[in-house]
Assembly symmetry: C2
Homo-oligomer: 192 residues x 2
């Protein structure tokens, strides 16, 4: 009847999401998750045959969370694509920096290559949204190429910023100038 009691499967993922956001990615031990869910260390195996599949389920939670935030920011019809892209970039960086553990988990090589995550399918709508916005903002260029480079730019800023390399480089403690630099570079200088 109550919500969190709906099956051990969901509870394990809930615990994992909490754990990665509070303690970091190295705390996502199979046994620790089981412990916090109040079951024995063998229990998760019935739902997730391997540790990687449990981690993938947790990471997928983060992907859909991020996708939700982006969707609600860019939801309203055909607004100014440049503004929407700014909001999208801001949302992405904000998510990555306030959920560092989850962001790190979402892009781990072993998860991505295991195939359990299905990031290719999960993140494709976000990418095609980006392609659409870029295509509307700059009809004169190869939208897929520019969108790809812009996505990589956002991702790189999030990554380098989160461990401090870029803050030392740019001096300031604010990532917004970097975001605007990246946007200006790919979309042309902000027209007013």
């Amino acid at each position: 009847m109550s919500d969190p009691e709906t099956g051990l499967r969901a509870r394990l993922v809930d615990v994992g999401v909490d754990l990665v956001n509070t303690e970091g990615v190295q705390a996502l031990t199979l046994r620790e998750i089981a412990r916090r869910a109040g079951v024995s260390h063998g229990a998760p195996r019935r739902y997730f045959p391997t540790h990687l599949e449990l981690l993938s389920a947790i990471a997928r939670r983060g992907v859909t969370d991020l996708a939700g935030r982006v969707a609600e920011l860019t939801g309203d019809g055909a607004a100014n694509p440049r503004e929407q892209l700014t909001a999208l970039g801001h949302a992405y960086l904000d998510f990555a920096l306030t959920h560092r553990g989850m962001h790190e988990l979402m892009f781990r090589h072993d998860l991505l290559e295991s195939g359990h995550l299905g990031l290719r399918e999960t993140s494709l709508p976000l990418f095609s949204l980006l392609v659409d916005l870029v295509g509307r903002a700059r009809p004169d260029v190869d939208a897929a190429l520019v969108a790809g480079s812009l996505l990589a730019n956002l991702h790189g800023i999030a990554q380098l910023w989160s461990w401090g390399s870029l803050q030392l480089a740019t001096g300031s403690g604010d990532f917004v100038p970097l975001l605007h630099t990246a946007l200006d570079a790919h979309l042309g200088p902000a027209n007013r």
Copy 2:
């Protein structure tokens, strides 16, 4: 007298570099490195008090390797900065994609945050070279900001490309168009 016999310390790092390039980052077990170096699992502790410090030493080898490649590409005086930046970007992407394990190791959060790696100091010359080149190519902008964004862009392309997200996005199996898109975006369209 012979080269590889110069101390266990160097031999451990040698073994680690080989291992990460052939088997990947998950093979860099303390005990496995010791095994391949022909010593017991307790031996590394005399030179590297913890596993992370050994990994940091291996990663530092990769950083200096990359710095060397970049330095020899951009060594000749004051050539065309745009061409030098193109060569630098190509070298960076090439290194990241042909040494995937090493590249992944070099940018692991736990290594960076442990402080043992010293990436801040190690990679600073590379970044200031980038700032210099960007400043010469575009005297009209904040060079540090653009260089930071460009570095993040290169890093992001390397990362996203290496696990296939971008190849699916751009269709082609070649990363050079993406590299030129990023360079054009930050430096302005190639003059001529």
